[in-house]
């Protein structure tokens, strides 16, 4: 049905466009038209599409609902009020109607299936016919509108604007929706656990009650260990990725010959394409044991899963972010500034240090912020390399855990939806979101303050 409908729609639209354009083009020879012929064609297309899409978008759900209700009434009116049974009955009816039912069907089921089939065929035809009629009417309307003074171009531009606005709104609304639902669950969570305990508690163990009679007491929900763990790993990662990424970018942008650059830049970007799981098991299976041995030979006690291992590998992961973005902003510094500096007798490194980097400062900061957001949001590497133990420790050699890891741990496996444990994942998510949002706002402020206007 949909296939036929949209084929017809496309055919009508194309025909409408050609007709409209043609008619306008012919009339254009004798009169001066406001809009060019193809705009008149486009206007016809719009006047075909809009009503037809509307008929489909409204007609199909309404028709389906009516048909289903009718079929279920024939089958057994009592199921209509029961969500679960309604769904099950409907699946059976459709299965019988489309011949996919296995086993015997009760007479009631067969009757319901027949009702379903015949009604469905009827509504389908109705929608097809209705769509066809409004489509033709639309085309006629569009074609009739063609005249010298008709401002088809302006109308079409307006439709384009509305469509683009619609797409932008989808993105914004999705974000708002997600934030809102997370917020809602977070509020839910705070009804069970006090926000003060959550934000300032020093112990994190959502692993619920130890004894069954400990009603309502389901572990400790202090996020301090997670905050510390996240900051620790992110700091280590940035200590690795910040300097290395920036220096790599400087090398690529200022020193590398075009040939080296052509090879090195894509290679660096491949590093960004390595799945984080792979980096994660590299960290867990190769780097962590090695660090442990190294630590032992130095007389240090390194946990087999450590913040250091996770941080180092995460640092490697985000090097390409820092370097690629910084490389772009360094390249965007106008050559005239470099020439000015060389013309003063500055060396290359003086020029970079005193002119290029300050000029690229704001862009570099935003590259770093983006990298931090990435690091904070990264889960896989930490799960594998830093462990799950919620230790409140600033020692990079200890096992620690982060927000994302805890969210993942909480939501994996069986759980009751309404427990404090499950809901805490939303609260963690919300804090995480708030944190990255703050980072972005700070970054934007810095960028705004230090941005240089070049023309």
């Amino acid at each position: 049905m949909s296939l036929i409908y949209f084929t017809g729609l496309a055919a009508l639209a194309v025909a409408g466009f050609l007709l409209g354009r043609n008619r306008a083009a012919v009339a254009n020879r004798t009169e001066t038209f406001h809009s060019r012929p193809s705009y008149h064609g486009a206007y016809v297309v719009v006047s075909v599409l809009l009503p037809m899409l509307l008929v489909f978008a409204v007609g199909v759900p309404v028709a389906h609902h009516l048909v289903e209700t009718q079929a279920l009434t024939v089958f057994d009116p009592s199921v209509l009020d029961d969500e679960l049974r309604r769904g099950a009955a409907l699946r059976d009816i459709v299965a019988v109607a489309t011949g996919r039912h296995t086993g015997d069907a009760t007479p009631a089921l067969v009757r319901a299936a027949e009702t379903w089939s015949s009604l469905r065929a009827w509504t389908d035809n109705l929608i097809l016919a209705g769509g066809g009629i409004v489509g033709l009417l639309g085309a006629a309307y569009g074609l009739r509108a063609i005249s010298a003074t008709f401002r088809a171009r302006n109308r079409v531009e307006r439709v384009v604007k509305v469509v683009l606005f619609g797409c932008a709104s989808v993105a914004v609304l999705t974000t708002v929706g997600i934030v809102f639902s997370v917020l809602l669950e977070t509020v839910h969570f705070f009804q069970k656990v006090s926000p003060l305990d959550f934000l300032f508690g020093l112990e994190w163990s959502p692993q619920t009650a130890i004894r069954a009679d400990q009603v309502g007491s389901s572990g400790a929900f202090g996020i301090a260990p997670l905050v510390v763990g996240t900051l620790l790993i992110t700091t280590i990662a940035m200590l690795v990725a910040g300097p290395i990424g920036l220096f790599a970018a400087i090398y690529l942008a200022e020193y590398a010959s075009p040939r080296v650059r052509a090879v090195a830049k894509p290679l660096l970007e491949i590093l960004a394409g390595i799945p984080t799981v792979v980096l994660g098991f590299f960290a867990a299976l190769s780097l962590a044991p090695w660090l442990r041995e190294l630590g032992q030979s130095l007389g240090l006690n390194v946990a087999s899963e450590s913040a250091l291992a996770a941080g180092l590998v995460m640092g490697m992961m985000i090097i390409p972010f820092v370097s690629s973005l910084s490389d772009d902003v360094i390249n965007a510094v106008p050559q005239s500034l470099r020439d000015g500096s060389y013309g003063m007798g500055a060396t290359k490194s003086e020029t970079i240090k005193r002119v290029v980097l300050p000029a690229a400062f704001s862009g570099i900061v935003s590259a770093m912020m983006l990298a931090i957001s990435r690091a904070v949001g990264e889960t896989m590497i930490v799960v594998m390399a830093a462990g799950l133990a919620a230790n409140l420790s600033f020692n990079p050699l200890d096992a620690v855990t982060t927000f994302t890891v805890q969210i993942k741990t909480i939501l994996v496996g069986d759980q009751e939806f309404d427990s404090a444990k499950t809901l805490s994942a939303f609260a963690l998510g919300f804090v995480l979101f708030f944190f990255t949002l703050t980072l972005n706002v700070i970054a934007m402020q810095i960028v705004k303050r230090y941005r240089e206007q070049y023309d």
Partner: protein, 273 residues
């Protein structure tokens, strides 16, 4: 002779006479420049007099900027650019591998066509050169250098209350004078200017021309310009380039009134270019 350029002959000849005895600062002999395959300058021989203004004129693309950039080796920064021939400054070969370009560029300053102040404060813009060359021993000396340079560039009065503002916040003409101040802050011996007034209004242009006239007392100046009036006003010697060849060089007044070469005459009377 229907020259379109009015040369105030009395003053021009006086100025030319005043510098006529000056020694030669830079000697270019058989200079060829290639950009990859393109042969941009052919066998240029040109002497540049000390403490005088030499103007390079010629139609677009004839190699004026290219020649100018040879004089402080800014061509080194262009990938694929090759320079042959000999250029000496004070009898020292500036393309000698032993010579340090950093020192050369400290002696030969440059002002670009488009003002290019650094995105730093006005003060820091001018202090840039003295800082990298270690010309000031302390803050007071540095301030002294900055203030004198700004004064000499005729900008001080306009910016003295806001030396901390960004150099990019100035107007185009002020930016160009800032760039001149920046260039003279390291006390170069030679200042190269590539169309320094092309982005400026007549008033800012007049200020900069006045400035060049003053700077000529202490510096050797080479200026590229598309305005023959400007060349006539500020320079004592003029060199005419055409299609990568140095066609004619001589005292400015003579070039504009009695050119020897047909091409020069066509150019200054506006028949091409």
């Amino acid at each position: 002779m229907n020259s379109m350029v009015q040369v105030d002959s009395a003053s021009a000849i006086a100025a030319a006479a005043a510098v006529a005895g000056n020694p030669v600062k830079i000697v270019a002999q058989g200079v060829n420049v290639y950009y990859g395959e393109k042969h941009a300058l052919r066998d240029v021989d040109l002497d540049i007099q000390e403490r005088a203004v030499t103007a390079l004129i010629g139609p677009s693309g004839c190699g004026k900027s290219t020649f100018l950039r040879c004089l402080n080796r800014m061509n080194d920064t262009i990938v694929g650019c090759r320079v042959t021939g000999k250029i000496t400054m004070d009898d020292q070969d500036i393309y000698d591998p032993q010579l340090d370009v950093v020192q050369l560029r400290a002696r030969v300053g440059m002002v670009f066509q488009k003002p290019n102040p650094f995105p730093k404060s006005i003060f820091e813009n001018v202090a840039y050169g003295p800082r990298i060359h270690g010309l000031a021993r302390n803050k007071a000396e540095l301030e002294e250098i900055v203030v004198t340079s700004l004064k000499r560039a005729g900008l001080y009065e306009e910016v003295k209350d806001r030396l901390g503002d960004s150099g990019t916040s100035l107007s185009g003409g002020q930016q160009q004078r800032l760039c001149i101040a920046r260039a003279i802050a390291v006390s170069p011996e030679v200042i190269l200017m590539d169309e320094p007034c092309s982005a400026l209004d007549p008033i800012a242009t007049a200020k900069i021309e006045e400035l060049m006239d003053e700077l000529r007392e202490n510096y050797t100046i080479v200026i590229v310009t598309h305005s023959m009036q400007q060349a006539a006003r500020v320079s004592q010697r003029t060199a005419f380039f055409h299609l990568g060849v140095l066609v004619e060089v001589g005292v400015t007044g003579e070039i504009f009134t009695t050119p020897r070469d047909r091409r020069t005459q066509d150019y200054i009377t506006g028949r091409f270019g």
